[in-house]
Amino acid sequence: MRMPRLWQTALAALLLTAPGTALAADPLGVDDGTQLTLWTRAATQVRVDQLVQAYNASHKNQVTATYVVTDDYQTKIGAAAAANGLPDLFSADVVFMPNWTSAGLFQDLTARIDAMPNIDKVAPAGINVGTWDGKKYGMPFIADLSVWMWNKKLYREAGLDPEKGPTTLQEFADQARAVAKLGGDVHGTYFGGNCGGCNAFTWFPIAWADGETVMNPEGTESHLASEEWQQIYKVFRDLVADGTMMMPESKDEAGPTWTAFFPKGVIGVQPMPATQISALVGSGLEDADIGVAPIAGLKGGQSTFVGGDDIGISRDSTKADAAWNFIAWVQSEEAQVEVVAKNGNVLTRTDLADNKYITDPRVKLFNTIGAKGQTPLGKNFGATFNDPQGPWIVLFRDAVFGDGANLESNNQAMTESLSE
């Protein structure tokens, strides 16, 4: 079973890299009525569904999407990989990309990606995270960013300038303290005190904005005990100590409700994913009262965690040309403007933020801040940062809820986990 496939792949690779033949294939793939299968995690279902429907309506190829429960996605991909039963296309949370590319789950797309028109306009972070050993395996699919959001109504009540959000981490803390003084049900800020993914997503940009690092570029060595990070932990430790942080909810927050309190209008300022603003409007929060600012560092600067999903063609697919057609189409102006921007989401192209659908300056910020952001790379990122029993949660809980006495040894455990 494996021999012909290897042989075919080898031949295909030879044809693609041979001079003269590389450009013969259509850089946008083929649209000949092929049936394609796509797997993605349920967390991005709404946005993937919009793209798939638009593609199917305008192409002969037809994509059938399967949405897997987010927590089971990694397991399902693992089981399918072991059984050589991966779908044609599948997406990956960007932090899991290196794990899957290094395990050889995707086909090498280097030649196709390099031959793509407008490739220099595609969000580079999404391509970097899909690159392993110099070969490109993935393209950006769904973009997700972290920003700071504040509640203008609470800022007015607290005597703050409602139009001026924080521009440093210290301002973030000061403004949270001012709001916390309102008392009652209102709290200064909120965070996922037991959620590894949440604090990677919302704290990494603080260090990046200062020009500092989280890990070495290979993602095998942790820098989380540096002077910079010690100061960051101290800001949050003080917010917890003086009651500005919503407690005890923060300490137990494992992720499911980390964005649930801000829309209730009881939090002054907190990091949030760059989701549709309209989705946040609810019982306690009006559209006009939501302020959005880029995440800043101790000294200032701006950054964001470029998250979301990458997409690639599985090593088991025999329909790579048709599958590539879908991946390339996602980056087209048609898909980006008429599907992604129209639905109020973040684009994966850097040059299309000026379009008829994006009039709200906050949504425009979502679409421009990505260029200043980063995506962390690491083969063992998930097992180190996202795992509920992983070393990252141990480290930041000790540093924020404790006194940080074990920071050095905890950081050593991080490096061991990353380099395993």
Binding site: A81, D252, A254, T257, F261, Q389, I393
Partner: protein
Amino acid sequence: MVTTTSISEATPAERPVRRARINLRRQLTGFAYTIPTLVFIVVFFLTPLVLVAKMSLSKYGLLTGDEGINFPRNYVSIWRNPLFWPSVWFTVQYTVLVTVMLLGLGLGLALLVQTVTRWSAFLRTVFLLPVSLGLAAASLLAYGFYSPAIGPISPPLEALGLIDNPIAFLGTSLAALLSTTFLVVWKFAGFYMLVLTVGLQGIPDDVHEAAALDGASSWQNFLHITLPLLRPSLSLATILCVTGSLLAFDQFFILTKGAPDNTTVTAVQVIYREAFQRQNLGTAAALSILVLIVLVLINILQFRFLRGTERD
């Protein structure tokens, strides 16, 4: 077999042949009857066991598959896993706590249902209802119930001024252990009530009457008549409860995910983490084999104890 041969020596020559033939036929029929069970055991128990055993001897990544034998690497790595000993200790604590509570409460409920005749059907239904719920569903319910964010317990207490902040039911190691134990006791007490009720109903009334005639108080009756005669049911309940608790997973996976600070990680959670977070099926299989051996040893000890006490 010994008796058959001794009989055949004493009987006429033709009879043993027929008898042996009948015996063979009966043995074949008996064997045929066991075939379906045998197939099930081979397909669903022995084969996976052999596969897991082989996995535990190999370098076996979740994404990469079998990469060949690396014994004893996977077994050695168990002792270096920082979560291993804490998880063993926590699992033992949880098992002791849950077993004592469940058997005590189950016995109490069984006696209650037996003595209260008027409401017994109603009570039995009430106690049994949680049993019909799946453990994962019950855990999710409890998660909402305990959540300081959306739980219904804290707001009325706050309104009454009894507490200032929501109660963190899962916030500390002890609170999480007790909260989970409460869920499990609520969920399974009815089941153990049922097991023990069956045992209670198996005790003939005349034994109690005889004891009463001899002047035994109801406490003496319970201690010297009911308890000894209930021993088989109690042993069965203990074996079920200990085995089930040592394999605890769903409730902690949903309620605490090991939080706070990895103090509520059970043995099976360590296996799950090795397999699906750290993507190492080899070490996960080695841990599974270890847990299997421990369970078999514990069950042998329990059966020994049961048999030993019955002989007394």
